[in-house]
């Protein structure tokens, strides 16, 4: 220290290098930790969605819905490119399970929540439109059973439009991918 205090420029240089080294080490460690945390979260999300599929297959829809909803609670950064597909997939699963339970209002809410999060066209957006079409078909079936023929026809026409919207999105996606790989 005595030697360094005699050379203020040298002391400053040593300090700057030491601080930079500390900063770099901390920065690398921090980004590595956040990278691992992100991968773990994505892995958990994929596991939960898979579990929901298995549970549905086993007939345990209530737990399957809980697993799909748990995906929506996972902390993924808003700018993470996998956040949107994972969440839309989860909303789609919640809606499909709700249809299977006959909870059409819940299914419609889940579809709408998913569609509200859409920022770009994707398979998952197309699937949400198809699920909306299925909800409307189920509502039309109810209307028919209750003798509300006009409502049935209106709902079926709305379902038709939802399915056509789904088709349009997938058509565009397939055309886009095809053009890119050409």
């Amino acid at each position: 220290m005595t030697r360094l205090s005699r050379h203020p420029v040298g002391a400053c240089a040593v300090l700057v290098v030491a601080l930079a080294a500390c900063g770099c080490a901390r920065g690398e460690g921090g980004s590595e930790a956040s990278r691992r945390a992100r991968l773990e979260t994505i892995g958990v999300a994929q596991g939960l969605l898979h579990e929901a599929d298995v549970l549905e297959g086993l007939g345990d829809r209530a737990t399957a819905v809980a697993r799909a909803r748990a995906v929506l609670e996972l902390p993924l950064a808003p700018d993470d490119p996998l956040r949107e597909p994972l969440r839309l997939d989860a909303w789609g699963r919640v809606a499909e399970l709700a249809i299977a339970d006959g909870s059409l209002d819940e299914a419609e809410r889940a579809v709408q929540s998913g569609l509200d999060e859409v920022s770009r066209p994707s398979y998952f957006e197309a699937r949400l439109h198809l699920v909306r079409g299925r909800v409307l078909e189920a509502r039309a079936a109810r209307a028919r059973d209750e003798g509300r023929d006009e409502d049935e026809r209106t709902l079926l026409r709305e379902a038709l439009e939802a399915h056509e919207r789904s088709i349009a999105i997938n058509r565009a996606l397939l055309a886009e991918d095809g053009d890119r790989s050409r």
Binding site: Q46, L86, L156, H163, E164, L174
Partner: protein, 135 residues
Amino acid sequence: MSPQTWMDPLGRALGVVALLGSIAFATACGAALRTERQPRAVERREDLERRLADEEARLARAEGALADESAACPERCRSSELLCEAARRVCAIVVELDDPSLRPRCERAEQSCADGERRVSSCGCRAGSSPDARP
């Protein structure tokens, strides 16, 4: 001095001069030809190298496109599958509504399904693969 005696050295000298001249001429011609041919050879080589580089770039692009297409296949398969499911539902609804004016919408949906399947024909999609397709 007989003509034979004085012509001998002259003849020899002339012969040497002719020989040297022809060597010089041949050398000059050779050099001229070489300088004429060299740029052509360089041009030809450059042209071949350019064509080779073009071919290599084209091959790399084709390989990249093939790799991209293979990587995108699971996503393309599930899009095509979902598209056809939506098309089936459109046609079922058209039948249920029993409205002839809606028939073209079923035809368009079926056409979209066929187009989608054609677009993923190189992927070898298996039916029912979409539930496994997760982000």
